[in-house]
């Protein structure tokens, strides 16, 4: 319910609390277990209904209008597709006499890019699906595109980035962000993105040098001193690289990247912004970790709630939507949910 006096509130706010969410999350968990996971589609839907209902966007509550059935159908379709892809690929490789033959090797080598393509497709379609199911003032969003072009660009961009040892990440990620969000619309208003990579280089280059230099330390140390740890050098370097690549560089870069991207997004006279800094993200994930570990895993039912609240609380909106010139999207809604995303276990942001 919305009344008129609330229009002067913060443009976006979340009034859910863990006490009212927990019963939903726990019944979801129980029913998901006894149905061997089938209930997950209903659990997801119910959780999103709650999260959307407790979120106000310019005074008006959001509503999740997606259904559990469409999620279930999508999950089953995608599972069948992936099984066919993996098994089919394996059988063909076996049939052409193993991975060591040229044809078999080529097929095996194609598996990774094919998954990258699906991954990109999944991200695009998840955003499209969610925009088409989050209703605000009777309006929903989505995209005219099916996402194949984006998927191809995604696979290409990440491959090229990997080939440059991730040096060109600030070029590739904003380009992909821009491509996928500019394909989206909400109501009959397109989303516009001015995602700029220039500001990111300032952060990326020092980080990247750190990423390269820190593992270099032990190499120099060992080669100059002829120390006995030399035999373990490759392992030490690998461990250091992995730590840097997984736990140091992404958090330091990620917060700035998300801020830079959202700051340049605009929709229907509303300018977006995001004020979560690296320490906010680290603190969020630390709390999540403590909660999950401290409750022996049961606390994981609260993660979606925490993530949603975090995003809503850190989103900044400027301006006000022009309601007079906002109409229905006129899109045909995707008929099934984000199965690919679930199967590949990725977020949509």
């Amino acid at each position: 319910m919305t009344d008129w006096a609330e229009e002067r509130q913060a443009p976006i706010s979340f009034d859910g609390d863990w006490r009212s969410y927990l019963p939903i999350a726990l019944t979801n968990l129980a029913l998901t277990i006894v149905t061997l996971g089938i209930y997950r589609a209903w659990a997801t839907t119910r959780s999103r209904q709650y999260l959307c209902a407790r979120t106000r966007f310019f005074g008006e509550r959001l509503e999740w209008i997606g259904t559990a059935r469409e999620l279930l159908v999508a999950n089953i379709l995608v599972a069948l597709l992936l099984i066919m892809l993996v098994f089919g690929n394996q059988l063909v490789i076996e049939a052409v006499d193993g991975e060591r033959s040229a044809a078999g090797g080529a097929l095996a080598a194609m598996t990774a890019p094919a998954f990258l393509l699906l991954y990109g497709l999944a991200r695009f379609r998840a955003i499209r699906y969610r925009l088409s199911r989050i209703m605000w003032r009777g309006i929903t969003g989505g995209s005219r595109e099916a996402g194949w072009t984006y998927a191809a660009l995604y696979a290409f961009g990440l491959t090229v980035a990997a080939l440059t040892l991730w040096l060109i990440v600030p070029l590739v990620l904003p380009a992909l962000w821009r491509r996928r969000w500019e394909a989206m619309q909400y109501g009959d208003w397109a989303v516009s993105v001015e995602a700029h990579h220039r500001s990111l280089w300032r952060w990326w280059l020092p980080l990247y040098s750190l990423f390269l230099l820190i593992p270099l330390g032990p190499i120099l140390f060992v080669t100059s001193s002829g120390n006995s740890v030399g035999a373990h050098l490759p392992l030490i370097v690998l461990v250091l690289f992995s730590i840097m690549a997984l736990f140091v560089v992404p958090p330091l870069f990620f917060a700035r990247y998300i801020r830079a991207m959202l700051e340049r997004m605009e929709w229907n006279n509303v300018r977006f912004g995001f004020n979560a800094r690296t320490r906010d993200w680290v603190w969020l994930y630390l709390r999540m970790l403590l909660l999950v570990v401290g409750t022996l895993g049961i606390g994981s039912v609260m993660l979606e709630f925490m993530r949603w609240r975090f995003i809503v609380e850190h989103l900044e909106l400027e301006g006000a939507p022009d309601l007079l010139h906002l109409g229905p999207s006129g899109l045909r809604d995707p008929r099934t949910g984000e199965g690919l995303l679930d199967a590949l276990d990725i977020g949509a942001f």
Binding site: I33, L36, G37, R40, Q49, L80, I83, R137
Partner: protein
């Protein structure tokens, strides 16, 4: 009952204040003069007081709080938990789902033992032929070793077509591969102190092969993965693991029983094998019994010790010279490199 409401018609983002009248007797709601049958109205989950129309997906009516209670008597709230759960109640539907899941798991659990004997061995071999080809160059061929091993295997009931080999590995283990090849890791041989123990181990693995346990496990695993993986995600994977572990413990007991029968038939004493389990028990941490894939060594050793027949005449399966050749089969084979990974 009359009152005010806010209407969003789904065509425009601008809401209108409208007058509504609940016509209880007529089973309809008058919204700004338009009559809407109560039967097409549905409550929006998590948004008390807001209603949608089954025939207009974007249409939303938010009632004045004073009218909400009256409306709730006519149009039931939607908990969002799903139709079945709402109809049966949480407890009863959970019990029903649990029973259904148990039945499904039971079917997947029992089917493979019916299917497995009919899976051709050639099909098994085909599925893992890449791994088998990789295994081939790693088989130890030290002088006299293979001949001793073949004799030992024949004594405990190896059939034509069965194949027992040794590869170099730091693991203390033996496995029956799909397709019927039995692989002993040389670390296991080196830790044994009698050929009769090796006979007990080989007889156990032959039990797996002859009963088609591998095909059964592969079929079962595939079944669980196909059915649970399609809808379940991570929690289903854990269920699969637990169920297949439980399964393998029963199967291990069966293979142990086969091993004891084969030893008795060949006139080989079960006592050395019992002693081997006793040695292993000392190395085991207790308390992980249920999660282990094999029954505890204590239990297994006791069963072998109980199989000792005081009236029987036992003799060693191999003489000293043949046993030495078998233990050193990798050591005497200079080509062998250390197998570091658990490749299977």
């Amino acid at each position: 009952m009359r009152g005010a409401a806010r209407l969003l018609d789904g065509h425009s983002a601008i809401d209108r204040l409208v007058e509504v009248d609940i016509d209880d007797a007529g089973g309809r709601l008058l919204v700004a003069g338009e009559a809407i049958p109560l039967s097409v109205l549905q409550a929006v989950p998590q948004q008390p007081g807001t209603y949608r129309r089954a025939d207009l997906p974007r249409w939303r009516l938010t009632l004045d709080p004073a009218m909400t209670a009256a409306m709730q008597r006519l149009v039931r709230d939607d908990s969002g938990r799903g139709r079945w759960v709402d109809r049966l109640g949480l407890g009863r539907s959970a019990a029903l789902f649990l029973a259904g899941s148990a039945a499904l798991l039971g079917i997947i659990y029992t089917l493979p033992s019916l299917i497995a004997p009919n899976v051709p061995v050639a099909a098994e071999r085909f599925l893992v032929r890449g791994a088998l080809a990789e295994l081939e160059p790693r088989i130890c061929t030290g002088a006299g070793g293979q001949a001793a091993l073949d004799r030992l295997a024949a004594a405990v009931g190896a059939r034509p077509g069965d194949r027992v080999v040794v590869i170099r590995s730091a693991q203390r283990n033996a496995v029956a591969l799909p397709g019927g090849t039995i692989v002993l890791f040389d670390e296991l041989l080196r830790r044994l102190d009698s050929p009769d123990q090796a006979a007990g181990v080989v007889a156990h693995e032959l039990g797996h092969v002859h009963r088609r346990h591998v095909a059964e496990a592969m079929t079962r695993q595939l079944g669980f993965q196909l059915i649970l993986g399609a809808v379940g995600g991570a929690s289903a994977a854990r269920i699969t693991d637990l169920v297949s572990l439980r399964y393998s413990r029963d199967v291990e007991r069966q293979a142990d029983a086969d091993s004891r029968a084969a030893l008795a038939h060949a006139g080989i004493s079960p006592v050395p094998t019992a002693r081997m389990f006793a040695d292993w028990q000392k190395e085991e941490l207790d308390g992980f019994g249920y999660l282990a894939s094999h029954p505890g060594s204590g239990e297994r050793g006791a069963a072998f010790r109980a199989a000792f027949d005081p009236g029987a005449r036992y003799r060693p399966v191999l003489d000293r010279q043949a046993w030495d050749a078998l233990v050193d089969i990798c050591h005497n084979d200079p080509r062998q490199r250390e197998l570091k990974s658990e490749w299977l």
